[in-house]
């Protein structure tokens, strides 16, 4: 696929080589991931400060989180990172069908993660373990228990939004794969989506022990 001047169609006019275009995309994506780390960084910072202020509260409150569901979700997301990586590998080898099935599996696992998260959230809503002034639960010992749940809902909520954004992007990649936009020579968008998805996974890997496994 190339135009009259021998410029491949996937190569934008302002780049001279595919290599240059791919390297630019990589730099751009890594910088974007850096901004994501800093976006979450503010919340991790707030977590650290309030955990230092209220160590007993964090310990008591964390026992109301379901470690089994949290651990299941961790496994689900790590598996989805594997299927994402396999999707990229398949396209590197030009295997379109394998890419499609791996992307579908990634989407399915991401959906599973959200369903489990929904079960956890609705249980807490039911008990009144809500953030800030909506907090009505009385079972946690220690002052200001709503602070723990405020931070829990903000961090897992922001993470959940990133999971949804990831699913939209993966869905878009799936569509483009079925439309033959990619080949063994050009698969940069899938690879960039993969980088993003691994970051979403990685953030959860930090969230899980910080909330569910307070010793």
């Amino acid at each position: 696929m190339s135009n009259a001047e021998g410029h491949p169609t996937h190569l934008a006019h302002h780049f001279s080589t595919t290599e240059q275009q791919k390297d630019s995309a990589k730099i751009g994506m890594w910088l974007f991931l850096l901004t994501e780390v800093l976006l979450f960084g503010g919340l991790f910072c707030a977590y650290a400060i309030f955990r230092a202020w209220y160590p007993d509260l964090f310990h008591n409150a964390h026992s109301f989180l379901d470690t089994g569901l949290g651990a299941t979700n961790t496994v689900v997301l790590i598996t989805s990172s594997l299927t994402m990586a396999l999707a990229i590998r398949a396209m590197q080898l030009g295997n379109k069908n394998a890419t499609i099935w791996n992307l579908v599996a990634t989407l399915g696992l991401a959906g599973t993660f959200l369903v489990i998260k929904y079960i956890e959230y609705s249980h807490k809503f039911h008990l009144g373990q809500l953030p800030g002034k909506y907090y009505t639960f009385t079972g946690v010992e220690g002052g200001n228990p709503h602070i723990f749940f405020s931070i829990y809902f903000m961090m897992t909520g922001l993470h959940g939004i990133h999971v949804i954004a990831g699913m939209i992007t993966i869905g878009w990649m799936l569509y483009r794969t079925t439309k033959n936009h990619f080949s063994a020579e050009y698969y940069t968008p899938i690879e960039m989506t993969g980088l993003y998805w691994h970051l979403v996974d990685l953030i959860w890997i930090f969230l899980f022990p910080l909330f569910y496994l307070i010793g």
Binding site: A12, I27, G28, L34, G42, P131, G132
Partner: protein, 539 residues
């Protein structure tokens, strides 16, 4: 070279769609320019109204509540909608690819998306005005910002979106500078404006996300009372200040670093001389970017943070003076024995040297804890940051605007009127803000609607200065607009500058250059190039 019928980026495609859907960095730069001029006008009019109110201690034209909303809007608009995008997003967008010999920025679609985010953020800010406006000051300090009846959420959403506009511009520029330099242009053959944009982009990418999460927390605090910043619910209002300044101190370097880049270009060009200490200037930009992340606590000397923290922040603040000083000395050394021509951009550059030195040195006063405790929240602070933000960044922006104006339009403004306006801005600025240093040192607090009689004379003086300043900008608006349509036509390189953007036509064609660019000489090799062209007598 350029003829009346030649096609260029301005006339190749026609109609509003060809602008609103363009991915050409030059058109996007022009659209940013239109946006920031609009908000500079709004912010400037607000400033004039504030100065009118402060002409006497009594109520002149508005209620105290309205006054609070006006100074908040003046600050928020000038910072988020004017200064931050002014040099990088408007001038940088236009000039950066040209300076690198590239056809566009690395991600043209993302570039257009940044502009749309800017517009959407601006619409939220405008909506906040009609829905009651915020009265918190541009800093949105909790707990006041979570309890006031002002419209904080709308403007906070606006700031969040504008932040992402700024992040995407920075990300785009870093990738562009890494990957799209013309063959032969090594890192140390880049023009210094590119170094300035690079250092700026690093801060935009690293600091702005923290502002993003901070305003999200503020919005949640206001809407659902999550309690993080509320002491009554076990939260910490000072945490907000830490988060806010972790972005907003580096942000002042987002504002000044690209301005310093412009000054390097203008002083070298109009001294027609190799820039003194190229590497020192380049490294000092990165040095400032690095230090900018370590000094935010100097905004919080009276917030109740620990004395040890204040001492460390104070010490680190003094360090920022070193790279800034290096730059100033290098610029002055570049002018020494140069062939200086006092064109309008150079007049602005010299204004910058004077005003920025005053702004920078008074920053050192304020970095000293004991002095700051006395001067905190007085007009001394107001004068200091106007000397750096306006005397520094805005003056540098105007230097760049007048420097690249012929490249933008292929036409040049009326020199006489431009000189008149430049002098009025310089005089008006100093009348407005020098008086505020004196008032501040005497204890006049900032953000107050009224004041004791004894400050009447200096406040009046300051208000008159603001009128001179306003008149200067009015003249500028007229001659710049006039020049777009009627200005004298210019060739590719009216200033005999050696950076690559001057090898493109004025105005450039859509793909920037009529050939594939290769670096033939360094950006400041005036001695070498002059020797080579002596026989022809011209560049």
């Amino acid at each position: 070279m350029s003829t009346a019928t030649a096609t260029n980026y301005l006339n190749e495609a026609k109609g509003w769609k060809s602008w609103l859907l363009t991915q050409d960095h030059k058109r996007i730069g022009i659209m940013y320019l239109a946006g920031i001029f609009f908000f500079f006008l709004v912010g400037g009019l607000l400033a004039l109204i504030i100065r009118w109110e402060l002409f006497t201690p009594a109520k002149d034209i508005m209620e105290a509540d309205t006054y609070n909303r006006f100074f908040t809007l003046h600050g928020a608009i000038m910072i988020f909608l004017f200064i931050i995008p002014s040099i990088p997003a408007a001038l940088g967008n236009f000039v950066l690819p040209l300076m690198l010999g590239a056809k566009d920025v690395a991600f043209p679609r993302l570039n257009l998306a940044s502009w749309y985010l800017y517009v959407i953020g601006a619409l939220f800010a405008l909506y906040s005005i009609i829905s009651g406006a915020a009265d918190t000051g541009w800093t949105f300090y909790t707990p006041y910002s979570t309890s006031t009846s002002g419209s904080v959420v709308a403007i906070a959403v606006g700031v969040f979106i504008l932040g992402f506009s700024s992040i995407f511009t920075g990300l785009n520029f870093i990738a562009t500078i890494h990957k799209l330099r013309a063959p032969g242009m090594t890192w140390f053959k880049m023009p210094l404006f590119v170094w300035g944009l690079y250092a700026t982009a690093i801060i935009q990418v690293l600091a702005t996300p923290v502002l993003g999460i901070t305003v999200v927390l503020l919005i949640l605090e206001r809407m659902v009372h999550i309690g993080i910043f509320d002491p009554a619910m076990g939260g910490d209002p000072v945490l907000f200040q830490h988060f806010f300044w972790f972005y907003s101190h580096p942000a002042v370097y987002i504002m000044i670093l690209p301005g310093m880049g412009i000054i390097s270009e203008v002083i070298a060009t109009f001294s027609h001389k190799r820039i003194f200490g190229y590497k020192a200037i380049a490294y000092s930009s990165l040095g400032i970017a690095f230090m900018s992340f370590l000094v935010w606590g100097h905004h919080m000397f009276v917030s109740g943070q620990s004395e040890l923290a204040s001492l460390i922040f104070s010490f680190l603040t003094f360090f920022v003076g070193i790279p800034s000083g290096i730059k100033v000395f290098n610029w002055v050394a570049t002018m020494y024995k140069g062939q200086i021509s006092l064109k309008v951009p150079m007049l602005y550059a010299i204004s910058f040297l004077i005003l920025f030195s005053i702004g920078g040195l008074t920053g050192i006063f304020l970095g000293a804890v004991s002095v700051d405790v006395h001067l905190h929240d007085t007009y001394f602070i107001v004068a200091h940051f106007h000397y750096t933000m306006m005397g520094g960044t805005v003056i540098a922006f105007l230097a760049g605007l007048h420097f690249w104006w012929p490249k933008l339009w292929g036409r040049i403004y009326n020199e006489t009127w431009a000189v008149v306006s430049c002098l009025m801005i310089f005089i008006g600025f100093n009348v407005t803000f020098l008086s505020q240093f004196i008032m501040g040192a005497q204890g006049m607090p900032r953000r107050y609607y009224t004041y004791p009689e004894e400050f009447q004379r200096l406040h009046g003086f300051s208000s008159v200065g603001s009128l001179i300043l306003g008149a200067g900008f009015l003249i500028m608006t007229i001659y710049l607009l006039h020049s777009i349509f009627r200005g004298k036509k210019v060739g590719r390189n009216p200033w005999q500058s050696l950076t690559m953007e001057w090898e493109a036509e004025s105005p450039p064609i859509t793909h920037n250059f009529d050939k594939d660019m290769v670096l033939e000489h360094g950006p400041y090799d005036y001695d070498i190039v002059d020797a080579k062209y002596t026989e022809e007598g011209t560049l």
